[in-house]
Structure formats: C-alpha cells, structure tokens
Symmetry: D2
C-alpha cells in the first residue's frame, strides 16, 4: 500500500465469491506484479454464508494495465475464484436523480453537499409526483420533472420515468422523502441502485406514518433507516441507521422535527458510501466498508 498523490485517478474493484484460501494472495499479487499501488483494501468473510467480500482501490498512474484492458486481464482470476465483481474508476462521476415530494430537508441537504463537493456526483434531473419543490430545483438550476401519480397511471408514469433516467445516463436514484411506493418495474430497472430513507428504525414501524406509530407506542428513541430499495417495501438491504432520543414531552410534531435532522444525516451518509463504492449486497444484507 502507499499514500496516493492527491487526485490521481484510482480503480476500485468490488468482489464477492465463495470463500476459500488464496484469494487475497492472488489478488494482491496480481496488483503488485502490475505495479498497482494499493491505496485502500478491505475484506470480509461472512462465516454463515461462506462468502468472501473485498474492496480494493489502487492508483491508475503507473499501473501496467490500461483501464480498457482491465476487465479482460482480471477474467482468469475472476473465473478461478467464481467472483462476482464490479469495477469503477474514481474519475468517472456517477449520475444521480433525486426523487422528492414535498418535504425539503433531505433534498436541500443533498443539494448543499453536492454543491460543496462532498457528494461527488452529477444531478441531471429531479423527479417528483408533486410540484411543491419545483422552485427549489429551479433555484439550483436543475431540470424538474413532474410525474403525478393517480389511480391506474403508476405503471405508465414509471415507464416514462425509466426512459427519462436512461436517456440522462442515470445510474443512481435517491428517494429523498419521495412519498410513493415504487413498483417492480422501477426496482428491477435499478437493482441496488435506488437508495431510500425511511423515517423509522426498521424493522420497527414500516409503512406509512411511522412517527405516529412510534409516538403511539411510547418509544424513547426515534430512528431513521437508509436502505436499497427492493420489491418488498421497507425490506431492502440496510445501509445506515441512526436514532435520536425522545421523551414523553415530545408530540408527534416533535418526533417529526427531531427526525428530520436524523433523516438527512442518515441519507447523506448512505449516498456518500454508495458513491465511494464502499457497499456490497449479499443475501439482503450489506457489507459497508466504511
């Protein structure tokens, strides 16, 4: 390993495969022999599932294999160990669409972190089922697309959305308090590429109005959960969770207010982790190399 010169581009390889001896040795030898200067490496074995996970990041400057040949060069290793793998390059900026409804706090939080450079992504467009937040999108100069959802039109609207997202080269969808349930059409179009924020400590209080349910139950902490969206509502792999204390003095409105700061923190952290390619999914759980 070695400290990277600032801003030199890196390659990031995410691997999962059946666990067996020699994987680390083989991969680190491959990189060493090709003069790949490793700047970060992390691995994990899920002993229950018998699966090995690795994330390795190395500098492209000085690396013997041109990036366009890298997939082919890796193929023998990948085959030998039956790897599923993803390869990313740090200078290829992900393109994210934000889905919003009317709550502005997560939306502003993502926009301000984008503006400050913390979240390294392009935001080619905003999608909403309402027009409440159109002025915010306009303020930031980002195209706003209104797809009202009514009885019977969800499939048609989602198809139109998917077409729009594909045309815009979107590879990540962030549901920033988007108050519509996605159909399988959408979740299958972007597998493990849609991040949601749910305003409870899942699996407690799934579904609608979780703060009301939490207040009714008399909990002493309220939570927020960011997860990849799958077909099963609120059941996707969890990325980040957080909680904040509440007491008998707090009304439902106070739960909602206290939860807001938590939601934006939890969602922004999940998006950051995804953009840094620090997340893998297996058996509906995440490995997060934080």
């Amino acid at each position: 390993m070695s400290t990277p010169p600032k801003d030199s581009p890196t390659a990031i390889l995410l691997v999962s495969c059946p666990d067996r001896p020699g994987i680390v040795a083989a991969l680190s030898a491959f990189l060493y022999e090709n003069r790949g200067n490793i700047v970060d490496i992390d691995q994990h074995v899920d002993p229950g599932e018998g699966v090995f996970f690795m994330r390795v990041e190395w500098e492209l400057d000085g690396f013997a294999i041109p990036r366009e040949n890298l997939a082919i060069s890796l193929a023998p290793l990948a085959e030998r160990f039956e790897m599923r793998w993803d390869l990313h390059f740090s200078d290829v900026i992900p393109r994210a669409a934000l889905f919003v409804t009317k709550e502005n706090h997560c939306f502003y939080d993502l926009l301000s972190r984008h503006e400050s450079g913390e979240l390294r992504m392009d935001i080619p467009l905003i999608v909403s089922n309402r027009e409440d937040l159109k002025p915010v999108a306009e303020r930031f100069g980002i195209p706003f697309h209104h797809f009202p959802i009514a009885a019977g039109n969800k499939a048609a609207q989602e198809r139109a959305e998917i077409a729009l997202l594909r045309e815009a080269g979107v590879d990540l969808v962030v549901l920033a308090r988007y108050m519509q349930i996605l159909s399988p059409l959408m979740t299958e179009a972007f597998p493990h590429r849609i991040i949601n924020i749910h305003h409870s400590f899942l699996p407690a209080f799934p579904g609608a109005r979780p703060y009301h349910s939490a207040h009714q139950r008399g909990v002493k902490l309220v939570g927020a959960t960011s997860h990849y969206v799958t077909e099963d509502l609120d059941e996707g792999p969890i990325l980040v969770q957080g909680v904040v204390p509440v007491s008998h003095r707090d009304t439902v409105q106070d739960f909602i207010r206290k939860g807001r700061a938590l939601e934006q923190t939890v969602l922004s952290r999940a998006v950051w982790l995804h953009l840094k390619r620090r997340t893998l999914v297996h058996a509906n759980r995440t490995v997060v190399f934080g």
Copy 2:
C-alpha cells in the same frame, strides 16, 4: 422551592388527572400554606389524552402535616381534580426481588449498584428457574429460591413465587434477563411493579432470539428496551431504550456481547428511575420525569 438539607426525608406525590386549569396553583398553594419546602416539581400534559401529570417532592422536616395524616389532608384536592395519586416517602426503602436465569451481566450490575448505594433498595431474595447463578447470590449473601418451570407447573410455581414475594414484602420485581414468560397471575399481582429488559429495540424483534433476528435482518444498530411487564409479552410501557452500533463484521455472538453492556445500562437506569418514583403510566405509555 428550596435546596434540601442533605438527607432530610422527603415526600413524593405522583398525580395524574384530567387536565384543567388550577391544578398547579391548588397543589403548590396547599404545600406552601403547610410550609412544605418543594425540592423538585415537574409536570406534563398529554394533549392527545387530555391528562395532566405531576411529580412533586418536598421536605418533611418543617412540614405542617404529619405524614400519617397526609393522605387524609390531600383527599379534598384529590377529589376536586379527580386525581389518581401515589404517595411515597424517601426514607421508606423499596424491597425488590431479582429474577434471573443464567446470564450474569444484568444481575451483577444491579448487585454492584446496590452495594455502592446507587440503587437504594433492599433485595430480600433472588428467584430463578435455574440454579446457574445460585453461587452469585450466595456470594452476596442473598437468599436464592429455585422455581424450576416445566410443562404444566407454571401456574403452581407462580402462585408459590407470589406467596414468597408477598411474605417478603416485595414491592418491585426486576427481571434481570429472566428467560421465562410471566403469566397474568404474576403480572396482575404486581401491576407496573415488574421491570423487564428485552434485548432489542422494541417493537422491533419481540419474542425469542432477537439478536439472531437482528443479525439476519442486517441492522446497523442493536437495541435494548426496559419496560413494565403487562399481560402482553414485550408490549408493556417503555421506560428506557438504548442502541449500540454494529456492522457487517459483527457475528451474532458479537451482537450478544455488544448488547450486554447496553442491557445492563438500560435496565439499571430504569430501576433507578422507578426507585426514585420518577415514572407514571398512562395509556400504555410512560411519563418519565428524568
């Protein structure tokens, strides 16, 4: 209000009643006119239920009404405002029975806090469905009673336990990782007088093996919940909750280990609050004047 001389005995009045104007004025006038020096006062209105709650603590030294007449003197006020109320004296030490099974961490934690004087209670006896922790009880010189629970004998055993508890003057039961479900026999004998620690962030993962379920779900925080025990398992009014972060690196055994420290902290805090008479229950929720 005034600062209490150290160790002067106090009276503690816990009140709940329909909310209406004049309650604070009437109660504080009653105390002032009888030269009751208030050392702590707290109140709360549940706006949804329209219920007023108050805890007021005042010095008995110098108070015009002898403690044995206090209930009678309060009666007109209580009647006027339709109060439910409890009266406690700080120099009457509560008597608590600890119920344990085989996990020792909450048990030791309660015993050490008792020994240091933090938890001001007498512990006349220990109850267990197993004999694993008998040596610990013996080490501390506390009588240990073994009530094995087998198919068909629970009612009989609980009746014997209740008789024993009553004989020993027990007014609080603490389930310190007691791995048996109580029947209504027991919960009705000690309403809001039995405190349990459940090793999850309720209402997530009720029932058995919550750490296994939490691990299976892939949560990023594990929790613990201390609550009063009611007829409905894991559904009683919540007193204290806490969480601790976990990651993909943590096995179920790690969840259990990390959870231990949390369980003892959460349970000890709940017991402390109860002993200080800082808790009220209404509509299956607690008011905790922390």
Copy 3:
C-alpha cells in the same frame, strides 16, 4: 394546565430569582386568578447557586390582563421575589441575522428549516466577511451584506454591522460557521443573543482548526458545540453538544465531513430552543427547558 387550541397566541415568561418557598404557588395563583390557561410550565433549582428558574407559557385568549398591561401587573410579584424576567409573545416573530463565511452546510440547513416553517423567524439579512455565499443568499432572496475584515478595520466594520442589525430590528445573530472572532463591541451589543457553532466538543479543542487537533490527538469521537457568544472566545454558555464516532481510518478530511452533519444538527437545535424561548443563562451555564 390545558391543551391549547391550535395557533392561539401565548405569552412566555422566563424567570430567575433567589430560590425561596412560594414562588410556584404565587405565580400559578396569579395566572389562575387571571384565567391564564397554562400550556407549559417547567422550573428548576440550581442547588449550588441557590437560584430558581421558571418558564411558563399560557394562552392569551381569555386571559384577563391585556398584553400591554402585563409587565405592570407582574411588577409586584417580580419585586417580591427579586425576579429577573423576560416576557415574550408567540405571535411576535424574532428577527435573526445569519453570519456566514464560506462553509455552506449550516447556512443551507438554517435556510431550509426556515423555509419549511420549523424555525419560526424572519431573516432580514445575511452578513459575511467574504462573498463566497452571496449566490446562496440571492437564491433565497435575502439581502447579503459584505463586510470584509482586514487588519485594523474590525472595530469600524463591527460598528457598521451593529448599526445595520439595529436598523433591521434584529434580535438574534446566528454565526453559521462565521470564521471571524467577534470583539466585545458586538458581544456586548447582543448579550446572550448571539449563537455560535464550534466544531469540537468544548472545552476540548478550542480555537482554530479543532478537527486537525482532534485528529492529532487520536480521539475516537468528534464533537460540536453550540453556545452563546461572550467576550471570552469559546467560553460562552453551552446550549447543545453532540458527537459522532471516528476511527483510525478517518483522515482530517473525514473528520471535517463527518462533523458537518453534526454541526448543522447541533446549531439548528440551539436556534430552535432559543426561538422557542426555552433557554436561560446563569453563571455562564444554561438552563434549557427542552
């Protein structure tokens, strides 16, 4: 006490005085006799200082004393108990100026919470020693005033700022990562009316570059502290503190990134508490009726 009809205006009285018997009785009787429906009441005694603190909020609808006569009507009580007191009305919206430099995260967070109605205040103007965030102010349609600070001009600039703030009727100044030290000119002009966010867990790491110092020391948590600004830098009464875990994997840049979400949460909470008139100051400490 009684549940308030939604949006009926309330009066809020903040009191501190030498602790002695009868204060609660006298004040609650005063309100009851004048048909003041108490919606929230909280009190505290600092036993070391012998000081009594109270916050009481009651409905103006139906209250026997017109708000313009209230100060006069309270005078005898205030005199009897040697009270320092402040009186606020919930329908009088505070006017806050935001001071910023170049970090945008606290600024956006305050603006979005203002826009959503969570922070009930008017923001007549923004002050900055730089022009970096002028576009953000313009986006929100708020006048932006640039007061560059250079060697020798601070006193003159602060005098101009104070004149501007007074002209705009500002009664609260929020330093949203404003990177200039205020002189006594400013702090004396707005005593306990200036809220700062310091990016460390004070009193650890006061002064400049706290994240660098924290990283150098190898801490495992980084903190943020919101406090009222006094003459003594980073020594003012603390309103809110928070922490977030860090590890050896985190660089200074990671500390800064993780700290951002914390800073905005901590600052917004402090501003909310101030706007709700839930804070009192005594002996350089705060009483926060949260």
Copy 4:
C-alpha cells in the same frame, strides 16, 4: 480466507512498517504457501505518517510451520519490510492484574465479564492502595494485595508491585478506577500494557475531579476515555471513548452516577480489544481493528 472450525487455535500477527508496495502480497503469499487459513485480516495506512499496519489471524491447524519456528520463518519478510511485529496465539491466555481503589462498578463489570467468558484472561491478583474492595476480591476468590501509598513511599511500593506482577506472569494491568498516578517506573515496566479509564472525554477535563469541572463548565454531554497509560498523565493513546447526555437538572452526583455505566462500558470494551490483539500504537495514537 475461510471460516474457522470453532475453537481451533489461531495465530495473530500484528505488523507495522514503513508503507510500500507489496506488503499485503508478500504476507498473504507467505500464509497461502504454508497452508495458513486466514480467518481475519485487516490493514491500514496512515497517510500522514507513511506507516502501514496489519493484523492477520490464521488457523494453526494445518499450517505448515510449527508455532515454535514461526518467528524464525517470518524473519526474512520482517527484515525486508522493516517490520515491527508481535505474534500471539489464541490459546495462550493473557494474565491481567486489576488495580482498584474504592469505586466498585468497573471492578464488578470486569469480574462478571471474566466469569461469563466474555473477557478471556486469567486474573491472578488484585492490587489496591486501599482495603475497601478486599471483600469483593475475596468473594471471587482472587488474591488481594494492599499497597498503601503515602508520602515518599510510591517508588518503593511500585517496585514491590512490579516484582509481584512479574512473578505472577502478568502481561496486562487494568486500572479499574485506580486513584493513584503511576510513576515512570511502572509505565516503563509495562509499555502499552496498562489500560486506564479516565472519567471525562479527554482531552477535556484531564486530572482530578473531571465531573466537577464538567458540571462547572455546563457541558451537555459527559464522557469517558480508555487509554494506554504513558508517562504523561491522561495523554496516552486513546482506545475507546463514549459519552452520555446530561442536562441542567443533573447535579455533580448525577454526572457521577450517569458516568459510571459509561466508564464500565468503555473500559470493558478497551480490555476486550486488547485481549483480542486488535490494537496497535503509533505516534501516540491507536489503530483499533474493531
């Protein structure tokens, strides 16, 4: 890597060396070629210091090199990369001495976790400058050694303690709220082998009576810090930190009470990490492979 059969003994190698390419490749090849089944591997580069750290754990069953030859076999690699390294075997149980004074909570917590098997160590003896906790040691059947410290006798007493510790084969000293400052005699005898718990969030409130100082300052969180003890009081490398919220309602006694649960949690976690050989020290900071 591969899932270990339960309870098969493992070797744990802790390495630090100047960072340069090829270290991971060389070490993982060494293990693979000798049929060492890696069960856990973690590494870190400190980019500021240019230092590489690694912890690797592999099964001894099936490993080609007998454990008594391992140091010699590793020597060429260690020399090539200028490694500082430590080698441990999981079936060699560390021997820890607990130092106590009069607070019992950390002491009981360590004893109960030892009893339950969570902390895998032998405790051959207890050392104290007072006799308060002698009954607790006796209850657990652990020899208790009383070394009263008075003016002028500290050096002599520490020499006697060191002799005792050496005779007992102690390789870890845990200061479980031991209220004496160690001299360099002791800290040099057990470098990075003495773990302390300080009852504040260091570097805030070093020295004596930190809860009093924290209360005086009006903080909203109190902390605890576990660290390796070095010559400079409260300045050693930090292992674990935690905080718990406090408010204006909390007296110094409440700070102390709330801090207790935190101290025991933080100290037990630090001891667990050390026993699992998950900690390295460099430049007065720790790398904790948690």
